[in-house]
Assembly symmetry: C2
Homo-oligomer: 223 residues x 2
DNA sequence: GTCTATACAAGGATAGAC
DNA sequence: GTCTATCCTTGTATAGAC
């Protein structure tokens, strides 16, 4: 798997862009897995190179340094995260917004479980690379949502629960299925979670959290 | 901090038991922090020794091997966990049981945040050392609780939600404050969580989860 | 019983061959 | 542009001095 599959056109000016793109993609995917499983320090470039099917030093050739590779992966995950954060207004329907919030977060974890675990490992270690993000953009995002939740409560659209704890509840409950996947699969005796499982969990979380906060769902889900 | 503080009585038979006990305690505490922050591979014995205030090789002298030290810490955390798992019966009050469940889990995370993060890092990496535990004792424990939750639902004491997802919800929501402490503190602009914070979060989670599952709390908490 | 000195492998990174 | 050979540090573990 390390030779014979790099034909491409060898006379592109400045080298082969397609090979570079492909190799970078493989490295990023492999690195996300390894960093997710072992954290920043525990990950080794040898592991990453092996999983990417490339010689060891090519990882550094393409990525510059271990640190740079790690930061790039974190930024990619933050970008995915930001991509689904559309703005909400106090005039929106609380049930609709919270349900979409739970669903999109659940889908993000499902589509990028390694990215989710990479992020979790970073936070677990004290978030040395993400302090600025947490205390800046992310804090602002949370506070803006919290302000709207409070106004909904004032209007009687939901119970006056602390909106920040509510956001943490949604985050933790949804991320759990990616971050603690090994535990979930072990306890439920599964090899993997099916689409139906994820749909059932999403419905469960939506139901319990919305009801728990006194928000009426628009459609009554069958249990 | 590495000399002058080991007086003790030097003529105990077979050496000084007190020194050993103290050093082992220091090593276990330091190792729990380092393993929690960096995972099994990412942790180094040099880090652990430094944080324990001991020369590097004493860690191995006392603990035998890195692997043995890690397993010992995992077992200690499992023991703490088992210590608060008293049996419940279908005749107990659901509100009382669920509230005690949430509260005790929250306190465990609060008292042993490094242990909680150590466990989280182990699961994040695929639970290589805990597979047997997850698929054995822990699965049995969850299934036993789930059976009782189902009977409560049949008796109309709570909504017929999936009890396993409910247990995962409680676990994730409570552990979040230990495992993602860096994120919680960053977003809420705190240096640490006070006892009052923890009490407020516990009340919030109890309220939302019990209400969300259709369980009436015995005392109506002020919000 | 405790700690220093050391062995030997693995890690990140670089120079230079192809 | 890609990969092999190598440098130096760090890591785990052990032998032996105190």
């Amino acid at each position: 798997m390390s030779q014979g599959d790099v034909p491409a056109n060898p006379r592109v000016e400045g080298g082969n862009g397609a090979t570079r793109e492909r190799n970078e993609r493989e490295i990023l995917a492999a690195a996300e897995r390894v960093f997710a499983a072992h954290g920043y320090r525990g990950a080794s470039l040898a592991d990453i190179a092996e999983q990417a099917g490339l010689p060891k030093s090519n990882v550094l050739y393409y990525m510059g340094s271990k640190r740079g590779l790690y930061v790039r992966l974190l930024e990619r995950m933050m970008a995915r995260w930001n991509a689904l954060l559309d703005d909400i207004s106090v005039d929106d329907d609380p049930a609709e917004v919270l349900e979409a919030f739970i669903r999109s977060k659940m889908q993000l974890s499902r589509r990028h479980p390694e990215g989710s675990r990479l992020f979790a490992a970073e936070i677990l270690g004290g978030a040395p690379f993400l302090q600025e993000y947490l205390r800046g953009d992310l804090r602002d995002w949370v506070q803006a949502r919290a302000a709207i939740f409070r106004q909904w409560a004032e209007r009687g659209l939901m119970d006056p629960v602390d909106p920040v704890w509510l956001i943490f509840l949604i985050w933790s409950a949804t991320q759990h299925y990616a971050d603690f996947e090994a535990q979930v699969l072990g306890i439920t005796d599964r090899e993997s979670l099916s689409d139906a499982d994820v749909e059932a969990i999403t419905a469960f979380l939506t139901r319990v959290i919305l009801k728990g906060c006194g928000v009426r769902p628009r459609t009554e889900p069958a249990v």
